[in-house]
Symmetry: C2
Subunit: 453 residues, 2 copies
């Protein structure tokens, strides 16, 4: 083998072009693993009556750092931890150094593709949502979001300080991590259940968006607390105004932009005349959202909402499907693959203390969001439990809090493990829970399809 | 601005998550630039009656290293050369070091996306081509490919040695670079002209595939010549057998794989049930091709040919369109953006000698391929000029030769510049030339559509 594949080695060590061909080979194999895991997991999950996205997450865990090590990601990790890299190294006779550089490039590419995946997912969700419907439940969604931030934060922080004797700053950080809601997981499950355009679905979606904005503000507050021991009021005010400005601006822009978008698309005559202008808009909005500290996905969601108002909506929804089909699974499988289940192993001493705190955090995380459903007012026949359950998954947003807390150095190992467990459990429990609280999806599918057409 | 955007800076310097959010921001802005350049260039080119792909290439040049510096690529280049990175640095208060790491990650991601783009392009071309039609002109295509390798190689090498007094090894390298044919450029233009399924189109496509295989062998020969002064016969035999084995194996596999593919797709019930298995197959074939030193695009082309034989063809062709629309332009714009037109500047002394050699190389490059059309036998009413013109563009394949020649250190600066000019001129001239030699596309479009259905 080594002799046969020598040219690959020769190229790798001498030219840049060839090095990039190794990165390409690593990316191609990673994508094959991602697609295989997502399809197998999604289909099996669907067979046993659970949302496919749960299977994609579990498929990711199986191929990821917790089990098969096919799909692992860089950072502190060496290339030798990745089975794909081991395979390529064996094949190409790579040196450990160049294997590491290929590995990190591949990790970076797959991570960015995953982020583009969730940006496209929210763009698609935006295209399927109706701005007027969303605004009509705006007040309820705002109340749900506020309750869903205040209750878990207060209960989590107080409980950690009183029951576990954790000091104030780390307790506040853990409390902040409890406030997050993963729009990605929830919206995908709602879409799969055909409930995105139900009143409950709209409230959950709206609340998740507002929750995201609140989360950014909470994060800025706790980060400045951890750094200086005081809150930077100016920054908080800036964040509140820029976030509100972005959301209001995006909606206002919609009315003006609708017509010019259709006008531009109608004069274009070459391939991609609809999808490329749409992507330019979605990616610009994602960039703007990211540049004012919001999540990029809020930008693409807003772009989807704006374009949903145009006459090109149907056509664009059709064209976005295959693009979402190849990019969105990368996100969910990556979330699973990056999940390190070793924190759940009670044989490791430092995990035990964490696991006990984790039980408390999981309870607060679930109950603290379930109560939000009961804060909905003025709606008689509404599935309050479903709304609360829809807010449960912390997903990637919870991990952002964790990452910042770790980097500032305020979290102890057990508390860090407890937060990871809380994020894992809420993320993986939400899809089956949602399936249970929305028992019969026949009617919902029909009504949401009818609304859409 | 600096104060307002400080949080981005804080995140960037303290956490990995945030650093990746800067890479995402850079990728989003780069994609917006790519899509804008491709759409504007493609539309303008189409308005003046030229193939859109030429406009995409020129659009790439305008935003790339030769002009606006919006889209530039890493390697030896510093982040400060990229306007997008300058903008992000200004916004986020990045240090030069972290700006460089974000810049290189962004370059890597866009480069891989471009390579995925051309892989998807050839997959789509494969899905639109018919294996039987291709095999029926197989002998003619083989002759065209051989003539198109031998004539430019012999004329180029001899001319450089005799007229310009270049020594043997660099002359052979330059001669080898003259043998390449860019399948990407040619197939896209043929597709745009509606001539992909004409007899001429099939011969060009078949010859370009065989040319690619021959090119890999030529490259291995000249690379071992340059390194050891002798040809590694064992390696050449291995390459010939593995390449032939791959092509024959892919075709043979087709008959077996057809049915199992359709069988698998039919039992899948969740989203992406057709496109994900198809992509798994295409990416695996691309990986296999790359791992035996062929180009990855030959693998995806073969995958497309195999799936074209299945009953899922129509549906898959439909689904691939939006995916190709968002990925393929990244390839063409990137090719343009990486093209450094400064070698054409006669004010730089070292360019002058190169420009004179370039005139000779361009003449050999064009005439050496045009004669290939007249080697087609047994076809009475065939557009021989069109076949020759279709083989002209060297594109990315020519640059691979150049990259390896430079890295081995056998090329002088003027000869290197001359090869770059040859690649640029043949790549940019081919689309308008093809438009001219295929004057009336009405009939062709209709007949190719008819053949397809």
């Amino acid at each position: 083998m080594t002799i046969l594949f020598q040219p690959l080695h020769l190229l790798a060590s001498t030219t840049e072009t060839a090095d990039s061909s190794l990165v390409l080979a690593a990316v191609l194999l990673s994508l094959v693993v991602v697609y295989f895991a997502s399809k197998l997991g999604g289909e099996l999950s669907n067979r046993i009556g659970l949302p496919p996205v749960l299977g994609e997450l579990v498929g990711g865990v199986v191929v990821g750092v917790s089990a098969l090590h096919l799909l692992v990601f860089g950072g502190d990790v060496e290339a030798s931890n990745s089975l794909i890299m081991q395979f390529l190294t064996m094949q190409g006779g790579l040196s450990p150094l160049s294997a590491n550089s290929v590995f990190h490039a591949q990790s970076e590419v797959i991570s960015v593709l995953a982020e583009l995946g969730v940006i496209i997912l929210l763009f698609e969700i935006g295209l399927e949502s109706n701005l007027k419907d969303l605004l009509s439940v705006g007040l309820q969604a705002t109340v749900v979001a506020f309750v869903g931030v205040v209750v878990p934060f207060a209960a989590g922080t107080a409980g950690l300080m009183i029951i576990f004797g954790v000091s104030a700053v780390p307790a506040i950080f853990a409390g902040a991590a409890l406030t997050a809601t993963s729009i990605g997981i929830t919206s995908r499950v709602l879409s799969e259940l055909g409930r995105l355009n139900s009143k409950e679905g709209q409230i959950i979606l709206g609340a998740a968006v507002i929750d995201d904005v609140l989360g950014i503000i909470v994060l800025a507050v706790v980060a400045s607390l951890a750094k200086d021991g005081a809150v930077d009021v100016g920054k908080v005010i800036y964040l509140i105004f820029s976030a509100a400005g972005f959301l209001v601006g995006a909606i206002a822009l919609g009315n003006f932009f609708n017509k010019s978008f259709v006008g531009v698309v109608n004069i274009l005559k070459t391939r991609g005349e609809l999808i490329l202008p749409a992507f330019i808009f979605a990616f610009l909005m994602a960039y703007f959202a990211a540049s004012i500290q919001l999540e990029a996905i809020l930008g693409s969601f807003a772009a989807g909402l704006v374009l949903e108002e145009t006459e090109k909506r149907k056509e664009l929804q059709q064209q976005i499907i295959p693009v979402a089909d190849i990019l969105v699974p990368i996100f969910f499988v990556t979330v699973g693959a990056k999940t390190d289940l070793s924190v759940l192993n009670p044989a490791i001493p430092s995990n035990r203390e964490g696991l006990i705190m984790a039980i408390f955090l999981v309870a607060v995380a679930i109950l603290g969001k379930i109560v939000t459903g009961f804060s909905v007012f003025g709606q008689e026949k509404i599935n309050r439990l479903a709304i609360g359950v829809g807010m449960i998954p912390r997903g990637e947003v919870g991990l952002v809090f964790l990452g910042i807390g770790s980097s500032v150095g305020v979290l102890t190992k057990p508390l860090e493990a407890a937060i990871i467990v809380m994020v894992i459990v809420t993320t993986f429990l939400a899809p089956p829970f949602l399936r249970i609280v929305f028992p019969d999806s026949e009617e919902a599918t029909v009504s949401s399809t009818a609304e859409n057409s």
